[in-house]
């Protein structure tokens, strides 16, 4: 049970970002704890699309032999004019599970209370994000694709959830946050300027990733090092 990319070529065209990944060969084993490290300009979302089957490679083959989640906590499917619970029901219908039981489980895990019945555009953003995280992690996949662990308040609880998931399933952590990735992952692929490099050691991956980083990335590292500083900067005045 693996996810494999064989000799894949993918052109990334996203605004000013124009690069091409050539001859990409990746193998993600069942129950592996893999990090995909890349900055916003690395076109990592395009690689995630290939893994999820949302897009096809320009060349090469992508094979999936086990079930994969979407990039959690993705919220593109959430209708903003409907209550939060509508999104939970949609996922329950999509994955053929009992709506009532799933709704109860997700609401209990997310602890959003009555807010779940509010229109999404009137809900606090953290609540939507927390619920989206819980929706994804409440389903039984063989491999979970995670992009973030949520806000500072949810981080600890979500980390616990991820640790529980890792006991029975694989993790694919898609991020530029090396510090968090090191807590969960044992191996990594680093994506940089059209090159993909594999590391079976997270320290080596982190070192390589830091070296590959440009000026922008130094700023990222600065924030990554101090979560409190990052939260301070994100405050709405």
């Amino acid at each position: 049970m693996t996810i494999e990319l064989h000799d894949v070529m993918k052109k990334v065209r996203q605004g000013s970002v124009r690069l091409t990944y050539k001859d990409v060969n990746m193998r993600i084993e069942e129950k592996s704890r893999m990090a995909l490290l890349g900055h916003s300009s690395s076109g990592l979302d395009f690689i995630v699309d290939l893994i999820c089957g949302a897009d096809a490679p320009d060349k090469g083959v992508v094979r999936r032999s086990h079930s994969v989640s979407w990039a959690i906590p993705e919220i593109k499917y959430v209708h903003k004019h409907l209550p939060l619970v509508a999104a939970v029901r949609f996922i329950a219908r999509l994955y053929e599970i009992d709506e009532k039981a799933f709704l109860a489980r997700v609401l209990e895990q997310a602890q959003v209370g009555e807010v779940a019945n509010l229109r999404v555009d009137r809900c606090p953003r953290e609540v939507v994000s927390r619920l989206a995280f819980c929706i994804g992690t409440s389903l039984p996949f063989d491999q979970y694709i995670l992009k973030t662990l949520g806000s500072k308040e949810d981080r600890e609880r979500n980390m616990e959830t991820v640790n529980q998931l890792a006991e029975r399933a694989g993790l694919l952590f898609v991020t530029s946050d090396v510090k968090t990735a090191k807590q969960f992952c044992t191996e990594a692929y680093v994506f940089d300027e059209g090159r993909v490099t594999y590391f079976d050691n997270m320290d080596a991956a982190a070192e390589f990733f830091s070296k590959a980083a440009g000026d922008d990335d130094v700023e990222d590292d600065f924030f990554d090092a101090e979560q409190d500083l990052q939260d301070l900067v994100n405050v709405d005045f």
Binding site: K11, A54, D58, V68, W70, L94
Partner: protein
């Protein structure tokens, strides 16, 4: 195999409900659209009635005649457009690994069918009772023709969608085709309004056959000399075969 088909049906069902729920997103008052849109439509129809009174056949009341043609034609256009857009452009739903572009296309087409069949039933019932042409001569023929024209739109969308994925300017040609169909598809006329020498220039079009069947099925006073459901079904089968083959092949090609 059976499980896979069952799963696909459930995915399409979930997507269709999601699509229908998404209809009201641009309205602050939720279901207000359900009242506003038909009201606007009634206004337009009243205007159309006065404008086209002299142009519709004398033995068929103009309102019912127009409703019989316009709503199915819009359904055809909507089904074609939504299927080809779903297949031609990346959809945010595709980030779910169990959803394929065909699922999204079919779900959007079913959404259109739900909207237009509801409108059709409401307006046709009201108009035909008002005009004194209720009940229809053959309700089954009307329903069958309505279903055929939707299926025709879906099947043509399946052909156009995969091509537009590698050749986006195709949408311009689709717009021209729609314009041609608007003129020659029988939305505003029946074939007997033209001399029989011109009929071969119209009967190549399967949309016209559906329109003829709709009028023939409703009005006691009209029997179409050209309506051929077999021809429409042949077109649908051919388009579905080409469309699904192209879609299958295009899955390996990235979005432009």
């Amino acid at each position: 195999m059976y499980d896979a088909v069952k799963t696909q049906f459930r995915v399409i069902r979930a997507l269709t409900i999601h699509q229908l729920q998404g209809l009201m997103k641009s309205y602050n008052y939720g279901f207000a659209w359900a009242l506003l849109e038909p009201l606007m439509f009634i206004g337009i129809m009243r205007l159309a009635r006065s404008a086209f009174k002299g142009l519709t056949p004398p033995d068929m009341p103009p309102s019912t005649f127009l409703i019989l043609g316009i709503i199915p034609f819009y359904l055809y256009n909507a089904a074609l457009g939504s299927v080809y857009k779903s297949l031609g452009k990346p959809d945010s739903m595709l980030s779910f690994p169990r959803i394929t572009p065909v699922d999204v296309a079919i779900a959007t087409a079913i959404r259109d069918f739900c909207i237009y069949s509801f409108l059709y039933a409401v307006f046709l019932l009201g108009s035909s009772i008002y005009d004194g042409v209720f009940p229809p001569k053959n309700a089954l023929e009307v329903m069958f023709a309505f279903l055929l024209i939707w299926t025709l739109g879906v099947s043509f969308g399946l052909v156009v969608g995969p091509v537009s994925r590698v050749f986006p300017p195709l949408k311009q040609f689709v717009a021209y085709y729609n314009l041609l169909n608007r003129m020659a598809g029988g939305m505003l006329f029946v074939i007997t309004m033209f001399p029989s020498a011109y009929w071969p220039y119209f009967t190549w079009n399967p949309v016209l056959h559906c329109m003829e069947m709709l009028r023939e099925g409703w009005f006691v006073t009209y029997t179409s000399p050209v309506a051929d459901p077999i021809y429409v079904m042949e077109c649908i089968l051919g388009a579905l075969l080409i469309g699904f083959s192209l879609e299958r092949y295009q899955r390996r090609i990235p979005y432009v």
